[in-house]
Point group: C2
């Protein structure tokens, strides 16, 4: 069994890096704070005797040798955060992996297969789109060059920032597929907490569609320009915000829709905006419904072009169909959780995860633990220590079985 307190200590120490008011973290991908977090986790990996590799997109893999060489059983997640991030999202999966290694070291247990703990670059996608960028390059789903050239919200590129923080490594991508991949993560949603279930057995990840929309109108005087003569990029942006909310309500089910980012130009009180840029995040577990939401949005943009005589450009920032996990892996997780006396629930994931990128290349699944009040991407993100410990113990059991302990 793992040591809950040691794991909590590591979580707290990593949360000190880029700490912000309220107990959360701001470690946007490839920022100075991300570098400091990476350095700390790499130190821990070395202390635990893992051998480290860093690839060209900055993914770090720490490997513990097995009795026989070959593909490793891998766990891990990410340590980048959003600007108002909590201390568990991603970090838990990486640090629970290290705790599994520490526990095996303590007990002097060797495994047949190698065991690896990875943290992937820019899972959040908050600074550079798409999200899950590191795992996409790791599995070959995204070309390295394209990823490296991606411009972030501040205009700088992934390549520049990798070089700046010293994490442009040399391990080849795509990497050889692991034997299996298991990721422990906080749910980030309200389901487990609400019904008092201890372990979520994640069967799938819902589809994600991110679109950046640029609207070009005409700047004009807010006092003198009759409403009928406006080409108001700001109003068009507002109408999109209202539209996607109505769309989500109309679709119902688990359809969600969010406008998280917006900018107006010239962004002054008495000037009709001539340019607005905003993002739309649409998600659904059902690919057909997600496609229908996308085409409804496209139709709304067409209507806006006509009604307001604005130009509208769109750019796909991310697009992932729903991903099912391997039944043999979800069964395995459920079996170990139940054997440990824990309550379980099979469920989809609302958030994107590195595991969803690993799923096509190796048997993959995820373990969820409850998030209090379903709060995430918020400094108040919280998971009770007993749930963290329970999740890490399920991870330990599943990894040991997969690796042959």
């Amino acid at each position: 069994r793992i040591k809950g307190e040691r794991l909590q200590q590591r979580i707290a120490q990593l949360a000190d890096v880029g700490a912000i008011d309220g107990g959360g973290c701001a470690r946007l991908a490839l920022s100075d704070e991300d570098k400091a977090g990476r350095d700390l986790v790499c130190d821990w990996m070395r202390e635990l005797g893992l051998s480290l590799t860093v690839d060209a997109i900055g993914n770090v893999v720490g490997t513990r040798a097995g009795r026989v060489p070959g593909a490793a059983v891998m766990t891990g997640s990410h340590i980048d955060t959003v600007r108002t991030g909590g201390r568990y999202d991603g970090n838990l999966g990486v640090l629970a992996g290290l705790e599994v290694i520490a526990s095996l070291n303590d007990a002097g247990i060797e495994t047949e297969r190698p065991l690896a703990v990875a943290f992937f670059t820019n899972e959040e996608g908050a600074r550079f789109a798409p999200d899950m960028m590191g795992s996409l390059v790791f599995t070959g789903e995204l070309a390295l060059d394209e990823a490296l050239q991606t411009q972030g919200i501040d205009g700088s590129t992934v390549a520049e920032n990798l070089a700046r923080i010293g994490y442009a490594g040399t391990a080849p991508t795509p990497a050889a597929a692991p034997h299996a991949f298991v990721e422990l993560h906080v749910e980030q949603g309200p389901v487990l907490d609400r019904e008092g279930t201890e372990i979520g057995v994640v069967e799938s990840v819902q589809g994600i569609s991110w679109t950046e929309i640029e609207i070009l109108g005409t700047s004009n005087h807010a006092g003198t320009t009759p409403m009928s003569l406006r080409r108001d990029a700001g109003w068009a942006a507002g109408s999109i915000i209202s539209f996607v909310r109505e769309l989500a309500q109309e679709f119902g089910g688990d359809q969600v829709a969010t406008v998280g980012r917006i900018e107006f130009f010239p962004n002054l009180v008495n000037v009709v905006p001539n340019r607005a840029v905003l993002t739309v995040d649409l998600r659904n577990t059902d690919e057909a419904l997600l496609q229908r939401a996308e085409s409804r949005l496209a139709a709304h943009l067409d209507a806006l072009r006509d009604a307001e005589k604005v130009d509208i450009n769109t750019r796909k920032l991310a697009r992932f169909a729903p991903v099912p996990f391997a039944p043999e892996m979800t069964d395995r997780i459920e079996r170990h959780a139940l054997a440990q006396g824990l309550s379980t629930r099979r469920m989809p994931s609302g958030a994107g995860h590195d595991a969803q990128m690993m799923a096509p290349v190796c048997p993959t699944a995820m373990i969820f633990v409850p998030s209090v009040d379903g709060i995430s991407h918020n400094v108040r993100e919280y998971t009770h220590p007993q749930h963290i410990e329970a999740g890490a113990n399920v991870l330990l059991a599943v990894l040991c079985e997969l690796a042959g302990a």
Copy 2:
């Protein structure tokens, strides 16, 4: 008569200061560009033999002595611009004033009363609210201290910036009232251009209501948070943008409504915003209707508080009731324009102007010249040279009559 070419030259030279792509200017109030523009205009004032004063809010007045001392007949406007400003808005009124002085100097004409040309600080209100700040302090409508402490959109204060650019003067405020005030300005709206009228005789300025609205919600994960559990500050902001457009359409007439400025926090694609700040600019020529629009907006904010469980704080950035100009002044402008063979139209102003702040302290009116396509607060703002010359000649005649030439 004035020299149209000399006036055009000054307009072009001033437009070179803070020039931006497309022929416009970015000289936000008290910026380095504003300082450079001020220095140029002050040089011109001195060359023309005017004696200069600068007051504590940075208003500059250049005075040409009359045969008898006493209150000056004043003209002027502003030289600050919005970030996507044209070259005529404000600048024309100041430079036409200098052209009147130059023409009188050329002709060796003395006036009974002194003649003064002023440019007032921060008329635009784009960086520091309220707009017309300099003329408000000049007439005593706004306390100097309050104005000096105002924080701009970049967080710095009026006082800091006045000191930095060296325009914190010593002339007392409120200043003694001028004998009369006349301001030449481009219409900035479409009315004169559309009907081919050369001179607008401005009878009033419509009411202006600027509100900054801050919405506080809960940041949360865009993928995992069901729509029903959100406290989405961004969605609330979008609903306000949609609401004020519908309000303007419902009110009809000359009601206008604009959301020109917005910011989301943390402003990331996959985070439900926990804070949004936006501005609403409402205007109407009818004070009762403007008040009704304000209370409808307030009711919408109350509904949002209930529906989305967000907190909402509002701050009045500017509030001016409609201002009528003195009939003896509008009659005078109309008479001189007609005598010069120009077509005229009586009309309200859609934009706010320094003249509206002078109106309570001395007989005041404004002369409008057409804006092509009604475009303003846009680099494409344009007024034909013959209209500029016509407006400046009406200004010359009106000032000469008022000052006793």
